[in-house]
Symmetry: C2
Subunit: 106 residues, 2 copies
């Protein structure tokens, strides 16, 4: 199925799951309680998130704890990096314009 991280975070439910388990690991049942859909539907999202390594599982008896692989999220950050330079440049240009305006005032 070759899912990538950008597809993974495209779905609002999945983004909510990510935010939900960011601080502590949770089981599918307790995660599903927070959404207006069946446990199985939530489980599908968990599978997708796990497949692209955004989540990791830890089995504890019959329960499975899902937690966030925070490092994987940095890949989004990495993709943004190529544009960060551009928006900083724009900001500096704006800054220059403003300081020129300022000098004119003087």
């Amino acid at each position: 199925m070759r899912r990538d991280i950008f597809q993974a975070i495209a779905d609002p439910t999945r983004r909510a799951i990510i935010a939900l388990i960011a601080l502590q690991a949770m089981t599918p049942n307790s995660i599903a309680e927070n959404f207006d859909m069946t446990r199985q539907a939530v489980s599908k999202h968990l599978r997708i998130l796990t497949e692209c390594e955004l989540l990791k599982q830890e089995q504890k008896g019959r329960e499975i704890y899902y937690s966030l692989e925070i490092n994987k999220l940095k890949e989004i950050d990495k993709w943004l990096n190529q544009f960060r330079k551009i928006w900083e440049d724009r900001f500096n240009q704006l800054d220059q314009v403003l300081s020129i305006a300022k000098n004119k005032k003087k």
Copy 2:
């Protein structure tokens, strides 16, 4: 159709378009030359990107120049912010572990 920015960047073609026009504005035809699909298919992507305000259009005669609204990309960055604190904390924890290990060596 209510598309959001996360859906917009989920498609690899759209991410390529974003990267392509990041530095200079381009017309649909010249953008489409870079892809292995019809001009109309590319135009659909342009429409989606424009609808969620990632691109803006500028008409010049019969040509339309598309350029990137770099500020809109910052919304992704903003979403990442809530996790940035977590990954920095993790890093600091690791840092602490390392410095403790170091002290033990002494």
